[in-house]
């Protein structure tokens, strides 16, 4: 089966009209398309950077607040400037984009503009028809593009078997980055927490670079909504390389291609590589022992249910750091006490930290960040 089509969708800067794009995203997903949704009020720079890193086939822009002729044009121009003209641009804006505007936009390099009254089927058919054929590309114009292409090749399994060996998980000799794995149940706030850590990293390391490999669930043959970028406002930065992956039918919170993608990222000169699993169940052990992950963080929601439920969570035995996020919730103190007891039984010197990731400058997140940095220095010494 051919690999799913990946596209990026977004709403332009100073525009919060996301009703149409939400509906369209759902329709794309239903028809087997993987949609990386960047959200609303996004700049040209954010859109183009994300499209390149995610190596999507096309960008769909939904604009309802005017200025579309300039905005679409700027996206096309910046793609060209960055050497990524193979990424196409399409979009719509109900009745706000006139036929004359659309002509001008197409003249400027936009593939297609959909008008009010276009059926959802028409749009999905267009995307599958137009962006479903394999691309032939050579000579990536920048290191980010090169990296993005290689990730695509790994994910879609199109790389020739001889060269693929280079990225086997067993080979960790060339690892240049610290790899931190984040896992935990859905809704615990992993994404927000990671984004807050990224903000601290960027502020503290003016030249540092970070990579994020983020996962969302999908079933074989169906699409996926990869929406982490929309909430990760601090991670939309030139020093952050982010890649969103669908699990494409694999259980356990990661994709079949994760190990190889992670290996590639870990030897690509980032200071840190962060890997985030999908929301996991009690039995999940997403990160293998002796794998690439140096440090594992389990993010918990205080509302996990009874103490008995807690006993069943396997990752509590394996994680290096356990975070109780949303510690402003009523149940957080009970959760802290119960998890603390559980960790003490393990006698593994696991650390427990309470955070409120949604709060700006949260002291708990500061503490977690300091702990990660310290752990980093200690391990580097040991090596």
């Amino acid at each position: 089966m051919a690999a799913p089509i990946r596209i990026l969708t977004a709403v332009p800067i100073c525009d919060g009209h996301d009703s149409a794009i939400n509906t369209i995203n759902l329709e794309f997903i239903r028809h087997g398309i993987e949609v990386i949704y960047l959200g609303y009020h996004r700049s040209v720079g954010d859109i183009v950077r994300a499209a390149i890193q995610e190596d999507v086939r096309a960008i769909g822009i939904s604009s309802y607040n005017g200025g579309h002729v300039e905005f679409f044009g700027d996206v096309v121009d910046l793609l060209r400037k960055r050497g990524a003209s193979d990424i196409k641009v399409f979009g719509g804006g109900g009745g706000t984009i006139t036929h004359d505007d659309a002509e001008a936009m197409k003249h400027g390099g936009v593939d297609e503009i959909f008008f009010a009254g276009t059926s959802l089927t028409e749009m999905t058919d267009y995307v599958r028809e137009r962006y479903g054929k394999p691309r032939k590309r050579a000579g990536a114009k920048s290191p980010d593009i090169e990296l993005a292409w290689r990730l695509t090749e790994i994910e879609d399994g199109t790389r020739r078997s001889g060269r693929e060996k280079k990225h086997q998980t067993s080979n960790i000799k060339h690892q240049t980055s610290r790899v931190i794995g984040f896992t935990g149940p859905g809704g615990a706030g992993k994404t927000t927490l990671i984004d807050e850590l990224v903000l601290r990293f960027l502020n503290q390391n003016p030249k540092g670079r970070i990579a994020i490999l983020s996962h969302d669930p999908s079933v074989i043959g169906e699409g996926a909504l990869l929406g982490d970028r929309a909430t990760m406002i601090n991670s939309q930065n030139d020093r952050v390389f982010m890649r969103s992956m669908a699990t494409r039918g694999q259980a356990g919170g990661l994709s079949p291609a994760t190990d190889d993608c992670l290996a590639l990222l870990a030897q690509s000169n980032f200071d840190y590589v962060i890997i985030e699993t999908v929301g996991t169940g009690q039995e999940a052990i997403p990160f293998q022992k002796k794998g690439l992950v140096d440090l594992t963080v389990l993010v918990m929601n205080p509302d996990y249910g009874s103490r008995l439920q807690l006993q069943k969570i396997v990752m509590l035995d394996l994680a290096d750091i356990v975070v109780v996020n949303k510690s402003d919730l009523q149940r957080a103190r009970t959760a802290h006490t119960e998890i603390e007891q559980r960790l003490e039984q393990n006698r593994r010197n696991q650390r427990l930290i309470d955070t409120v990731a949604k709060r700006h400058r949260d002291p708990g997140v500061d503490q977690l960040f300091a702990l990660i940095c310290r752990n980093d220095q200690e391990t580097r010494k040991k090596r």
Partner: protein, 607 residues
Amino acid sequence: MSKLGQVVEAVEKYNKFVLDQVKRARSDEQFGRELFNRWNETKAKTPVTHTPTGLPLPRLALPEIDEPGEIARYLFGEGLPGEFPFLNGAYREMYLEPVREIEAGSYEKKTSTDGAKEKTKGDDARPPEEPTRLFSGLMLAEDTNERFHYLTQHQRTHRLSTAFDGPTLYGIDSDADGVFGKIGEGGVAIDTVEDMVRLYDGFDLGSPNFSASMTISGPAPIIMAMYIAAAKRRFGPKVVPKLRGTIQADIFKEVQAQNETIFPIEASLRFLTDMVEFTTREMPRWYPISISGYHIGEAGSTPVQQAAYTLSNGFAYAEMFADRGVPVDQFGPRLSFFLDCGLDAEYIALARVSRRIWAIGMRDAFGAGPRGQLFKLHTQTSGRSLIAAEFKNNLTRTAAELTLAYMNATNSCHSNSADEPFTTPSEEWIRLAAHGQAILLEESGIFKHTMNMLSGSPGMKAVERAVEVAILDEFREIERLGGVLAAVEDRFQRSQIQNAAHRYEQQIYDGTRPIIGLNKYRNGEEDAPEIKLARTPRKKQQLQVDRLAKFKKKNAEKAKRALDKLVDVVERGENCFPALLEAVEVSSLGQITGRMQEVVGRFRPMV
């Protein structure tokens, strides 16, 4: 139990009280007689007017009932217009033309209430204000100013309603990266107090016949400070307590539907409360918040969701302001509402029911006096119901919606222009939209002779009952989630609205929701309408950027000092509004937003 839970209980209790009064009127003879006499007296005192054809009509229509139980059901359950629980109207007379000829009786003198006059027509003390208030904003401040003068040229009272462009709504400057094409699009570009001076040039901001409405929420406290600063520059500091108008400042609905939030929710609510604390004290004629369902409706909610979320947001604000220590009778009368009016059957009574729930909730859960019980409503016809295909049909859609809005006794109304699906409305279609209201209110006899002309039909009553039950169910669900703020953070309202929007689209595509000219009676060929588009020329956009650069250069040093002071106040958790008033004199919207975000962070979108 949160205040919302108490509101649900209060409404249930009140409904039971009404039933008890009905029973009592039937069993307690003296009580029944009192009601009967009061009823007859009210009817007898109702003035009679004559239509142009000579038909005599009462200025207030009442149901033909003479049984004490039914009279009790009406008087307690609905209330006469202007009487608790205000189902029939916030005021006694609305939209009525001046008395032509009074044949019998007259109303007893009503005690004067100051705030109550803001949006009424037919109030005796002051020449009545036209209910027409047209939303407008385009290009630069001077262009919108010109449009304002055009719109109000024939009006006694000048009621302006201001639309801002994208960068302003997001609290960023016109020179910000990548926003050039958005300058002046969809609204007016405002970066500095100097723009604000230009925007309302030529209008007497302190006059009792002037009021300004500003549709902006995320950066509302900053824009409010700019408005005050601009007024002071033109009229001196004494103008401040005289300023009349409304600023939207509705953070909850931004997070739920419209997505124009710039600070995290709690910080946004804090800055809002800072502003409300200031304006309720210093500007007693100002409405510092317009609790808005319009954008919830436009984002795709059902009408019931629109009303339920709007009301519950309102009660949550009331709880917040009360917690800050602002007395309920100080802020209560300064709250106003804004609803969408579309073509679904719920709209026959949506605002009527909302008015009733608000009054009962404010009286019984918050202890508000009569002025704080009023649900003062601005309505806008549904923009979402208008489509590009065969767009002249939009005139009919808007006319039907306008009729519904006035049947609900809205206090003011905006009628959309038929060309809105493609562009900022052009003058031709704006004129037709405004004329639509005049035709309904002044030309037709539907609303000008008799209050209650179309109220209380069996169908309307059926809608009222169904809508009230559904709204209370929504309240219970929000209460179960821990109240409004908790539900918002849980994305409850957002996901409900998105679901409803998706269903609406599906219904259009599968034809269960007929849209004439789109999925039914479609004209074969798709011809683009000949519309002259209102687009902002690049030259103007550049002018705005240049002016801003000049302002920043001129004030560079002073701005730094004022902004440092502002940051300090925000950091310490004090009321930041006075510091904002100083900061806007020398710094731009974007500069202020940026520095405040340093302290409180940026809003993290919910998907």
